[in-house]
C-alpha cells in the first residue's frame, strides 16, 4: 500500500503535463503572435471609423467608407501610382546594378573581397541620413552633384525641387543605399553555384554570354527572387528618404503610402484615413509577397527536379 499509493497521482500528473506540454511549448509563439495581431486588428478597427483626433465628437463607425472614398479620391490613385513606380523602378535598377557588380566581384581574390566589403558601407548609413547627404550634394549653391551637372551642361538642374527630376533624385538615393544589399546576396548566390555545369559548358565551347543566360541566370534565379522580394517589400513602404528630401513634394510628385499615412496621422490627426491607407499598403505587400513566394517555390522545385 505504502508503495503504490503515491504512484497513482504521479502518473496522473505525468498524463496531465504531457497533454499540456505541447501547448506550453507553443505559448511563447502564441504570445508573440498576439502581440503582433493586436496592433494589426486595432488598425483594422480604426480604418473602419470616421476618426479625427481633433474632432472627437465626430468619431463613429463608417465601416467601409474610408476605403470606398479611395475609389473617387484622385490623391489616393496618385499615391498608388507613385508608390508602385518608385518600388519597381528602384528594385529593377538595383537588381541590374547589383547583379552587374556581383558578376564583376565573383572571383575570390583579395581585391574583390576588399571591394565587396567597402561597397557595403552605404548599407550601414541610415537612409534618412543618406537623404540629407544627397540634399546637400544636390544643393544648387555648393552641391558637388550640382557642380557635375553644370559641367555636363545641365546648368539648371534642380534635382528634388523640380517635378520632372524629383523621382529620379530619390531613386538615386535609394540605389546608393540599397544596391549593396542586392549585390551581397547575389554574390553569395554566384559563389555557391556548382562549378560542373560551367566546366562542361567551357569544354563544349559555349560562349560566356550564352553561359550567363542559359546557366548562371536560371540557377541564380531563386537568389534574384529572394533579393527582389526583400527589396520590393521595403521599397513599397518607403518613407525616410522621400520624407527627408521633399516631404512628398514638389506638389504630390513623391507622395507614397507611408508619407501620406504619416502626414494624415501626425499632421492632420486623421486616424481613420491613415489606418485605411496603411491597410491598403499591407494588402499590396501581402499580394506581392505571395506572388514572389509562389514563384520562388516553383523555381526551387524545378531546380530539385532537374537535380
Amino acid at each position: 500500500m505504502t508503495d503504490t499509493t503515491p504512484a497513482v497521482p504521479a502518473r496522473r500528473r505525468l498524463r496531465v503535463s504531457s497533454k499540456l506540454f505541447p501547448y506550453l511549448l507553443s505559448l511563447p509563439a502564441l504570445l508573440v503572435c498576439i502581440g503582433i495581431l493586436i496592433p494589426f486588428f486595432t488598425a483594422v478597427w480604426y480604418s473602419l471609423q470616421k476618426y479625427r483626433l481633433s474632432q472627437p465628437w465626430n468619431r463613429g463607425m463608417n465601416w467601409g467608407d474610408n476605403y470606398l472614398n479611395f475609389l473617387t479620391d484622385s490623391s489616393f490613385w496618385n499615391t498608388l501610382q507613385v508608390s508602385l513606380t518608385y518600388a519597381f523602378l528602384t528594385v529593377g535598377l538595383e537588381l541590374l546594378l547589383g547583379l552587374g557588380i556581383a558578376l564583376l566581384l565573383q572571383k575570390r581574390t583579395r581585391l574583390n573581397n576588399f571591394i565587396s566589403i567597402m561597397l557595403l558601407m552605404p548599407l550601414m548609413t541610415a537612409p534618412a541620413l543618406a537623404a540629407l547627404m544627397f540634399k546637400l550634394m544636390t544643393n544648387p549653391n555648393f552641391g558637388i552633384l550640382s557642380y557635375f551637372a553644370q559641367v555636363l551642361g545641365f546648368a539648371d538642374m534642380r534635382w528634388a525641387s523640380d517635378p520632372s527630376t524629383a523621382l529620379l533624385t530619390v531613386v538615386l538615393v535609394d540605389i546608393w543605399v540599397y544596391t549593396p544589399f542586392i549585390m551581397i546576396l547575389l554574390l553569395a548566390g554566384l559563389r555557391s553555384l556548382p562549378t560542373q555545369p560551367f566546366e562542361a559548358a567551357a569544354l563544349d565551347g559555349v560562349p560566356r554570354l550564352q553561359q550567363f543566360w542559359r546557366i548562371t541566370l536560371p540557377m541564380l534565379m531563386p537568389y534574384v527572387l529572394t533579393a527582389a522580394l526583400f527589396r520590393l517589400l521595403d521599397s513599397i513602404q518607403q518613407f525616410d528618404i522621400i520624407y527627408a528630401m521633399t516631404q512628398g513634394g514638389p506638389g504630390d510628385q513623391l507622395m507614397v503610402f507611408q508619407v501620406e499615412a504619416y502626414l494624415n496621422f501626425f499632421q492632420s490627426t486623421n486616424v481613420g484615413r491613415s489606418a485605411a491607407l496603411l491597410l491598403v499598403l499591407w494588402a499590396i505587400t501581402f499580394f506581392l509577397s505571395n506572388l514572389f513566394i509562389k514563384n520562388w517555390l516553383r523555381l526551387r522545385e524545378r531546380a530539385r527536379g532537374e537535380v
Binding site: S54, S161, T246, G249, P250, Q267
Partner: protein
C-alpha cells in the same frame, strides 16, 4: 554681498532708480555686467516672493517637453531662480523641431502624464484644444489665489494674447469673449522684410514697399549679384510655407483663407480675383528670383541663405533677420529690416504671426504646481531677463518692449529692428480662420503653390481646384 551694492539693488527694486543707472552704479563698484544681471535677477526673485506664496508647492516636481530654441535656452539660464523661488524641482526633455511636434502629438494623444507642460504654437492648439488634451488657462489666470499679483496678464500684446484664445467653434473669432485661453504666449515672430543693405546699395535699388516692387527689386538684385538669388521665402510641402510672408501679404489685401457663413459653415475663400492676382505675383517672384531649390526650403534654409549671403532679401520671420545679423554669420552686421505692406493701398502691414507658447497638459498630475512654472516663465521678470540678457526676441509683453534698456540693446546691435516692430505690431495677429482642418488645408495650399511655381498648373486653375478640394474636405468633416 557688499552693503553698497545691496543698497543700490534694493533702491532699484523699490523703483527709485532705472535699470541702466543701477548697472552703471554696479559697474563703478567693479561688478561685471554678467554678475550684475544675476544679482538683479536674484533680487527680483526675492521681491516677487514678498507678494505671493511662491512656496505653496515646494518639494513638488514637474516635467517639461521643450523644443530646442533660444527661448528654451533663455528659460534654462534663469531656471535656478525659479527653483529657489518655489522650492520646486523642474526636469525636462528637449527635442529638435523636426521631431518635436510628433513627440507632442504622440504624448498627448496617448494621454500620457509624463509631461506637465510643453511648448506649442497657437495653430497646434486648434487640434489639441478640441481633442481635450489641454486646459483652458483662464481658470488659473483669473484666480488670484493661484496667480501672483505682478503677473499682469493685460501686459501681453493684445494681438498675440488673443491669437492664443479660441472658443473652439470652427470659424469662431480668435480672442472672442467666450474664448478659451488654450496657451500662454511666450515669444513671437512677425513676418517682414530683412535685407542685405550692402547688396541693395550696390545694385542701386531701394527697399521695396509693396508686392509689385518686391517682385521687381528681387529680380534686379538677382541680376546684379552673381550666385545670389533675389528673395528668400519658404517653399516646402508644408503648412509652414503658407503662414509666414505669404499669408502676411495675402492678408494685407484683405483676403481670407475661409469664409464663415451666418450658420457657421465654412467655405474656401482663396480663389477670388484679388487672391488670384496676388498668387500670380508671388509665383512669378519665386520663378524669377527665388531659390533654385525653393520647394525644399524651410525656415532654416531661408535664414541661413540670408546669413551666408546667398540671398539678398527674405520675407519671413523677423527673428531670422535678427539671428542672422549676429554670431559668425558671413553677413553679420550687413542686414537691415523693414516693415512690409504688400498692398500699396494698405495703411499698415498686417503680419501673420507665429507664437511660441506654453500650455499645460490636461493629463498633468498637478496642474496648480505646473501653473507656478507657467506664470513665472511667461511673467514680466523672466521676459525682461530673457530679452536683455539672452536672445528672447520677440517678447510678448508691452512692458518689455517699453523697457529703455531692451530698446537700446536692440537698436545698438540691430538698427531698424525696433522701428520695424513698432510699425507692424498693431496689425500683427493670426490671420487664419481657426478650425480643426488647419494643417490639412494649408499643406494642400503649399502643395498647390509648388505646382504653380513648377508650371504644372496655371494659377487660376490651381486655385479653383484647391478651393474645390477644400470645400469637399470641409463638407466631409461636417464643417462646410
Amino acid at each position: 554681498m557688499y552693503e553698497k551694492e545691496n543698497d543700490l539693488i534694493n533702491a532699484y527694486m523699490r523703483g527709485q532708480m532705472s535699470r541702466r543707472s543701477l548697472l552703471r552704479g554696479l559697474a563703478s563698484m567693479g561688478v561685471t555686467a554678467g554678475t550684475a544681471a544675476v544679482l538683479v535677477n536674484g533680487a527680483a526673485t526675492r521681491a516677487m516672493a514678498a507678494d505671493f506664496d511662491w512656496k505653496a508647492h515646494s518639494g513638488k516636481s514637474i516635467k517639461l517637453l521643450l523644443n530646442k530654441h533660444p527661448y528654451t535656452d533663455a528659460m534654462l539660464a534663469n531656471l535656478d531662480n525659479f527653483k529657489e523661488l518655489t522650492g520646486m524641482e523642474v526636469t525636462y526633455d528637449i527635442f529638435p523641431e523636426d521631431v518635436y511636434f510628433d513627440k507632442v502629438t504622440a504624448s498627448l494623444s496617448s494621454q500620457s502624464s509624463e509631461y506637465d507642460a510643453f511648448m506649442t504654437g497657437a495653430y497646434m492648439t486648434w487640434t489639441y484644444g478640441p481633442a481635450g488634451w489641454i486646459v483652458d488657462h483662464n481658470e488659473w489666470i483669473n484666480d488670484p489665489s493661484k496667480t501672483n499679483p505682478n503677473y499682469n496678464w493685460s501686459d501681453m500684446l493684445e494681438g498675440v494674447r488673443k491669437s492664443c484664445a479660441w472658443n473652439g467653434r470652427p470659424g469662431g473669432a480668435l480672442g472672442s469673449d467666450d474664448a478659451k485661453q488654450w496657451c500662454i504666449p511666450w515669444g513671437y515672430e512677425q513676418n517682414n522684410l530683412a535685407y542685405n543693405s550692402e547688396m541693395l546699395e550696390k545694385a542701386g535699388v531701394g527697399v521695396p514697399s509693396n508686392i509689385d516692387q518686391l517682385v521687381e527689386i528681387a529680380a534686379k538684385l538677382q541680376a546684379a549679384h552673381e550666385g545670389v538669388y533675389g528673395i528668400g521665402v519658404r517653399g516646402s510641402r508644408s503648412w509652414a510655407t503658407i503662414h509666414p510672408g505669404f499669408l502676411s501679404g495675402y492678408a494685407n489685401f484683405g483676403q481670407k483663407d475661409l469664409n464663415v457663413a451666418d450658420d457657421g459653415k465654412l467655405s474656401a475663400a482663396m480663389n477670388t480675383e484679388v487672391s488670384k492676382d496676388y498668387h500670380a505675383k508671388w509665383v512669378k517672384m519665386i520663378q524669377d528670383s527665388g531659390a533654385a531649390d525653393w520647394s525644399t526650403h524651410t525656415w532654416y534654409q531661408v535664414g541661413t541663405d540670408l546669413g551666408a549671403g546667398k540671398s539678398a532679401m527674405i520675407y519671413d520671420a523677423d527673428i531670422l533677420g535678427y539671428f542672422m545679423n549676429g554670431g559668425d554669420n558671413a553677413m553679420a552686421g550687413k542686414l537691415a529690416y523693414a516693415p512690409f505692406s504688400a498692398n500699396p493701398e494698405a495703411a499698415a502691414p498686417t503680419p501673420n504671426i507665429w507664437i511660441w507658447s506654453l500650455a499645460m497638459s490636461k493629463f498633468s498630475k498637478d496642474l496648480d504646481a505646473t501653473w507656478y512654472f507657467m506664470q513665472w516663465a511667461s511673467g514680466p521678470e523672466h521676459g525682461l531677463f530673457g530679452a536683455t540678457q539672452m536672445d528672447f526676441v520677440n517678447p510678448v509683453r508691452q512692458s518689455v518692449w517699453d523697457d529703455a534698456g531692451f530698446r537700446k540693446r536692440l537698436s545698438d546691435s540691430y538698427p531698424g529692428y525696433v522701428e520695424m516692430h513698432d510699425v507692424s505690431a498693431p496689425g500683427a495677429k493670426i490671420h487664419f480662420t481657426p478650425q480643426p482642418l488647419f494643417f490639412d488645408l494649408t499643406t494642400e495650399w503649399a502643395a498647390t503653390l509648388q505646382k504653380m511655381v513648377a508650371k504644372e498648373v496655371p494659377v487660376d486653375e490651381g486655385l479653383d481646384q484647391l478651393a474645390e478640394s477644400v470645400n469637399a474636405q470641409l463638407k466631409d468633416a461636417g464643417l462646410g
